[in-house]
C-alpha cells in the first residue's frame, strides 16, 4: 500500500573510513540487503553512536553516495556537529546499524540527457546517479564548492563517463563562480538540444532554488533533493515536513527528491 521496495535495518560492518578533506569523510560499509535494492537519490538512516547508548538518540540521514561490488555502500559526509563527529571516529571493523534504502530517488528517463548539478555535500547522491546513467547515455555533471579542496572525488565522477564541469567560488579550480554560472553556459551551448535535458540537483537551498529557476526559464524539468530534520526516515513521525506548493510534503517518504515545481521555494529552509 505505502511502498513496494523493501527496506532493511542492517548491521553493517565498516570496511573503509577515510578523511577526504578537512571535515569531509567517505564511509564504506558492507550492507548487502540495503545495497541490493538501492536506487540513486535514496538515503539511509545511519547510527552514529556506540551500541546501547541513547545519546545522541537519533540516527542521521545520509544519501547513498555510491554502490560497490560485494554489497557495499558508501556515504560522503561533512562533519558539522556532534553526530557526524562521533561517526567520524568510528573505525573499520566496527558495526553500525544502517536502515535503508529510504525515500524516492531521482527519476531518470532513458530518452533525456541528465544534467547533474551538485553544490558542496550535495554532490553526495550524484555519484550514484552518474554511475547509474553514464553507461547508457550522455550526461553532464556540474560540481561546485567554495574551494578546490572541497571538491573531493572528481575522479570518481570522471570514471563513470559523465562530463564533469567545475565551479569554485575562489576560482581555485574550474570556473570562478557558482554552479549556476556553469549551468547557464552549458544550457547556452546546448541551446537547441536543451529541450532534451533534465536537471537533477542537490545542494544548499539557495543554490537549488537558483538552479530550479534557471531550469524553469529554459523550460527544462528540474528534480531537487531536499533535506529536513528527520527522526525516523521511514514515514512514521511526520516530522520531516516542508512546504509544497499545494500541501505539506514529507521529505523522507515523498522525497527526498521532488520535482522543483512542487516546492514552495519562498519559504526557504
Amino acid at each position: 500500500m505505502e511502498r513496494m521496495i523493501a527496506r532493511f535495518d542492517e548491521k553493517a560492518e565498516i570496511i573503509e573510513h577515510c578523511q577526504a578533506a578537512e571535515d569531509i569523510f567517505v564511509l564504506k560499509v558492507a550492507a548487502p540487503a540495503v545495497s541490493a535494492s538501492a536506487r540513486p537519490g535514496q538515503f539511509c538512516m545511519v547510527e552514529v553512536k556506540a551500541v546501547g547508548s541513547s545519546d545522541p538518540l537519533l540516527r542521521r540521514p545520509f544519501s547513498i553516495h555510491a554502490r560497490e561490488d560485494g554489497g557495499r555502500l558508501s556515504f560522503l559526509y561533512r562533519r558539522v556537529g556532534r553526530g557526524t563527529d562521533l561517526l567520524s571516529r568510528m573505525r573499520p571493523g566496527e558495526m553500525l546499524n544502517v536502515l535503508g534504502p529510504l525515500g524516492r530517488g531521482f527519476r531518470v528517463r532513458p530518452d533525456i540527457t541528465p544534467i547533474l548539478a551538485g553544490g558542496g555535500m550535495g554532490m553526495a547522491p550524484l555519484l550514484f546517479l552518474a554511475e547509474y546513467c553514464a553507461g547508457s547515455m550522455d550526461t553532464f555533471t556540474i560540481l561546485g564548492g567554495r574551494t578546490a579542496s572541497e571538491l573531493t572525488g572528481l575522479e570518481s565522477f570522471r570514471r563513470t563517463g559523465t562530463r564533469v564541469l567545475v565551479a569554485t567560488e575562489d576560482g581555485s579550480l574550474g570556473t570562478r563562480g557558482m554552479v549556476t554560472d556553469v549551468l547557464d553556459g552549458l544550457l547556452k551551448t546546448l541551446s537547441e538540444s536543451a529541450g532534451q535535458c533534465e536537471i537533477h540537483t542537490c545542494g544548499p537551498w539557495p543554490m537549488m532554488r537558483a538552479v530550479y529557476e534557471m531550469a524553469s526559464q529554459s523550460g527544462i524539468p528540474c528534480w531537487v533533493s531536499l533535506e529536513s530534520r528527520m527522526a525516523c526516515g521511514t514515514g512514521l513521525c511526520l516530522g520531516c515536513a516542508v512546504y509544497g506548493t499545494e500541501k505539506i510534503l514529507h521529505v523522507c517518504r515523498e522525497g527526498p527528491v521532488f520535482h522543483g515545481d512542487s516546492i514552495r521555494w519562498r519559504d526557504g529552509q
Binding site: M1, E2, R3, A6, R7, F8, D9, S54, D55, P56, L57, L58, R59, N97, L99, S228, R229, M230, A231, C232, T234, G235, L236, C237, L238, G239, C240, A241, V242, Y243, K247, I248, R253
Partner: protein
C-alpha cells in the same frame, strides 16, 4: 503452569492482547508504513496516529529537534481524518494479527464522541485510546487532560458513543496525575495509558529563534523515562483500572521496570523511530526474563 513457557497475554478490560507490548501513537504511522520492517504478528497491538474528525495539516516546520537522550516534536497532530482512516488505512491493519487501537483527538467533546461513534460502526477496531492532551477550544484552550472535570466529560462522552474498550491517555503536564486518573476512572474509563509527551522547548542560539516552528513541543524518549515510571507507579496505586505504561521505553529492561511498577502493558514510542524493530526485541527480552526467573504471568512481575 509450565515454568518454561511464561504466559505473556494480558487483558485490558475486555481487550485481550497476546503480549503486553504495543506500538505508541504517532510513532508507527497507520501501521502500513512499518509493514516491511516489523512482524506485526509478534506484537500485542498497535495504537495508530491520533485521528481527528476532519483531516489536519499539522504545524509549520521545523517540527523536530533532538535534545539530550530525547526528542522534541511539534507535529501538530497531522492526520488524514476519521473517514479516510476507516476507508484507506483500517483495511491493511485488519489483515495483521495484532490488536488495533485507534487514538482519537478533538477540539471539543462532541468531536471525540462523533469519532468514537464512527469507530463503533467500523470493523476491525479493538479499542479506542483517547488523547486528552489537546487544547479544549471551547474553554480557552487549556488541555482537556489538565482539568479532571473536562477529562471526565470527554471520557463519559466517548464511553456513551462506543461499546469498544476505552483507554484514556493522560497528559503528564499536570501537578497531580492521579487526580485526573481517578476522575476518568470514575467516569467509566476501562483503562488509562501514560504518559504523553512532556511540554518543552529549545532555542537555536545561531538563528536566535525557537528551534520548533510551533515554539513549544512534546519531549519523548529515554530522557522522560524516570518521570513516566514515577507517574505510572503512582497511578497504579491510585486507581483500580489497568494502567498502560509509556515513556522512553527502549529495551526489555525498561519495559520490565514499568511492568514491575504495575503497568499491565507498555507502549513503545520514540524507540521505534530510532530502530523499527525495537518492540519485537522487547517481546523477546521480556519472554527471556520471565523464562529465566520462572515468572508465570505478566501480573506476577508486579512489585509492591
Amino acid at each position: 503452569m509450565n515454568r518454561n513457557f511464561p504466559d505473556l497475554s494480558v487483558t485490558i478490560g475486555s481487550l485481550s492482547l497476546k503480549n503486553p507490548v504495543v506500538l505508541a501513537s504517532g510513532t508507527c504511522g497507520y501501521g502500513a508504513e512499518l509493514g516491511d520492517l516489523l512482524d506485526f504478528g509478534c506484537l500485542g497491538g498497535i495504537v495508530v496516529k491520533g485521528i481527528s474528525l476532519e483531516p489536519r495539516a499539522g504545524n509549520p516546520p521545523p517540527r523536530l529537534v533532538e535534545t539530550p537522550c530525547g526528542l522534541l516534536n511539534a507535529i501538530g497532530l497531522e492526520n488524514v481524518g476519521i473517514d479516510a482512516f476507516i476507508r484507506d488505512k483500517l483495511p491493511w491493519l485488519m489483515g495483521m494479527d495484532t490488536a488495533v487501537i485507534v487514538n482519537i483527538l478533538g477540539d471539543e467533546i462532541g468531536e471525540y464522541a462523533e469519532i468514537a461513534r464512527k469507530l463503533d460502526d467500523a470493523k476491525g477496531v479493538d479499542a479506542v485510546e483517547v488523547n486528552i492532551s489537546c487544547p479544549n477550544v471551547k474553554s480557552g484552550g487549556a488541555a482537556f487532560g489538565t482539568d479532571p472535570w473536562a477529562a471526565a466529560d470527554v471520557t463519559r462522552a466517548v464511553k456513551s458513543a462506543t461499546s469498544l474498550p476505552v483507554i484514556v491517555k493522560l497528559s503528564p503536564n499536570v501537578t497531580d496525575i492521579t487526580a485526573v486518573a481517578k476522575s476518568v476512572a470514575e467516569a467509566g474509563a476501562d483503562a488509562v495509558s501514560l504518559i504523553n509527551t512532556l511540554l518543552g522547548m529549545s532555542i537555536d542560539i545561531d538563528t536566535r529563534r525557537p528551534s520548533l516552528g510551533n515554539v513549544f513541543g512534546g519531549l519523548s524518549g529515554p530522557a522522560i523515562r524516570p518521570v513516566a515510571l514515577r507517574m505510572v507507579w503512582q497511578t497504579v496505586r491510585a486507581v483500580d483500572i489497568p494502567v498502560v505504561g509509556i515513556g522512553g521505553i527502549s529495551d526489555a529492561n525498561d519495559a520490565l521496570e514499568f511492568l514491575m511498577a504495575g503497568a499491565c502493558a507498555v507502549e513503545i514510542g520514540t524507540a521505534t523511530l530510532v530502530r523499527p524493530g525495537t518492540a519485537v526485541g522487547i517481546v523477546e527480552g521480556i519472554t527471556a526474563h520471565m523464562e529465566s526467573r520462572g515468572v508465570p504471568a505478566i501480573k506476577d512481575l508486579r512489585i509492591d
